[in-house]
């Protein structure tokens, strides 16, 4: 005798069962639906139907309209994206953004994960960014770091923070599990110390206080000190995430690799870290996302990253009323980057799940 599966419910039946089973449920469903439709209409009306899109009419056209004033973006997008970067040279900043994004995307592709390729991509990417932004050679006009700003600065701070902070975090995690107590304890104190401080105070220390302590030739530009501080902060948190991932790898894995004659570094790089990073992946993506958004804190040191540039874009008199539109625009930019990062994390998780039952 064959047992037939019950017939799949039709869409209508399914809806009735899920949302209209009892009179109370029906009432709640209808009310919620009304709220959703109302909000959706309001947002649609504000954002698109009644909105002003061109800057031709100036702020006055916006005052007349009931909807969003996207004119401020049309009029001020260059300040938002490029900050204080000189107007005629802003194509360089745009290209530099492309270089950083291309470098990030390339290093996310599994085919590029060999030591030589990753190194080539990173060196080429950062060099390209630096030359484009700073100039002073190849006929490009010199533009100092204090004039960098907007999206390019945000991306640069984020990517360099990760490039420096990530290897540092692995180093710290390995040192923290060292069998030599003076190494593991010292590392533990460093990690806990950095984690006990607010990021703002670390940035402030690196930007303002460090120059008093360091000789002139070691100081570098304020920007690079800020990046170092931010990388240190990132690595303290990430080190604990990596260590957690390492604790999830059974002891037998290392014993097996040692018994096969692998050296310490072979065992770490081929056996321990791949498995530890797989365990640590969700928390790692989390940390990257947080760090991306924390780049906005560099404004206290006087850098006009994208959020601060946005403030400047509407803060000059005539567009003062259109701050919501500016923030929505910036939020969208953040969203594009962070959401891509999350989706990439999900892809990695699927890819790394091979071999798990």
């Amino acid at each position: 005798m064959t047992v037939l599966a019950p017939p799949a419910p039709t869409l209508l039946e399914d809806l009735r069962r899920r949302y209209f089973a009892t009179p109370l449920q029906a009432a709640v469903s209808l009310f919620s639906l009304a709220v959703i439709v109302f909000l959706a209409w309001k947002i649609l009306n504000w954002a698109l139907l009644s909105a002003v899109f061109t800057a031709d009419g100036g702020p006055e056209a916006c005052h007349a309209a009931a909807g969003a004033c996207w004119s401020v973006i049309a009029a001020r997008w260059r300040i938002i994206l490029f900050g204080l970067y000189p107007f005629e040279e802003q194509w360089r900043s745009a290209l530099a953004c492309v270089a950083v994004v291309a470098m990030t995307v390339l290093s996310c592709i599994p085919a590029c994960w060999t030591g030589r390729r990753i190194a080539a991509i990173w060196v080429a990417g950062t060099a390209l960014f630096y030359i484009l932004m700073k100039g002073g050679i190849f006929g490009l006009a010199y533009i100092g770091e204090e004039q960098w700003g907007g999206l390019a600065l945000t991306l640069f701070i984020f990517v360099t923070t990760c490039l420096i902070g990530f290897p540092l975090s692995i180093g710290l995690a390995l040192m923290r599990r060292s069998q030599l107590p003076w190494i593991s304890r010292t590392t533990g104190i460093i990690i806990d110390g950095v984690r006990s401080l607010p990021l703002i105070s670390i940035l402030f220390t690196f930007a303002i206080v460090l120059p008093f302590a360091l000789p002139q030739w070691l100081q570098g530009d304020k920007l690079y000190r800020v990046i170092l501080g931010s990388a240190l902060f990132f690595s303290a948190y990430q080190a604990e995430i990596v260590r957690g991932g390492m604790q999830g790898v059974p002891k037998g894995q290392e014993e097996a690799s040692m018994a096969l004659g692998l050296s310490y570094w072979q065992s770490i790089s081929r056996i321990l870290l791949p498995q530890a990073m797989r365990n640590a992946l969700p928390a790692t993506i989390n940390q990257f996302v947080i760090s991306f958004k924390e780049t906005s804190l560099v404004v206290i040191i006087g850098f006009f990253e994208i959020l601060a540039s946005g403030n400047a874009a509407y803060g000059t008199g005539e567009w003062r009323f259109a701050y919501v539109e500016v923030y929505v625009f910036i939020a969208l930019i953040y969203f594009v980057f962070v959401f891509s990062l999350s989706r990439y994390g999900a892809f990695l998780e699927r890819r790394m799940a091979v071999g798990e039952r």
Binding site: Q253, G261, R270
Partner: protein, 254 residues
Amino acid sequence: MNGPDPSQAETAAIHIAGLNKHYGAFHALRDIDLTVRRGEKIVVCGPSGSGKSTLIRCINRLEEHSAGRIVVLGTELNDDVGNIEGIRREVGMVFQHFNLFPHMTVLENCVLAPMLVRKVPRSEAEALARKYLEKVRIPEQADKYPAQLSGGQQQRVAIARALCMTPQIMLFDEPTSALDPEMIAEVLDVMATLASEGMTMVCVTHEMGFARRAADRVIFMDKGEIVEQAPPERFFTTAQNERTRQFLSQILNH
């Protein structure tokens, strides 16, 4: 007699003299003397906590010994990392819980150490791996991941992985204890084949059938000491020590 004899240190596969091991206040191994000739097969048995696993884990320095002397294939085990890595290259080990690398396929598990440690080219390492997978009778699983295999298959892969380093000595640390009963035979068969081909083997196991079939000598340990050692036929029939007889009656009569 296999007592400590300095002249054997150079020629024996494994020469252990006056070995002691402490974990804090716990005395895990007491004055162990043991010499294993080349080609000899030793089965080590004893109750849980008797130090038998600790003993064979000292042989490839997964555990550091506190006192005494261990010479493996003429090389003394000391703090010299070169010595340790040299010995590990020549001594294969099979663990109770297989310890296959879960993020690599069976084939990658097998070629990893030959390529990294012995610098064998990939094509050659793969040929070697397929040969040993054939030997443990699972060549068709080469491209699967460990989690896709049964326990018995995983343990056979672990044996093949160790053999790919072409070791001169194989250590087995309770290789069948984590297996379902129906899979024990397939692993023991592979081990018996290996034994018949002249591999030097030290096996910690409670499989007394295997001991009868393959061992040259059975060692009984209790409380960190070697209590008794004898060829299997004598060990099972005329054990001298009361503790040995008690242990044998516990594992044989049930």
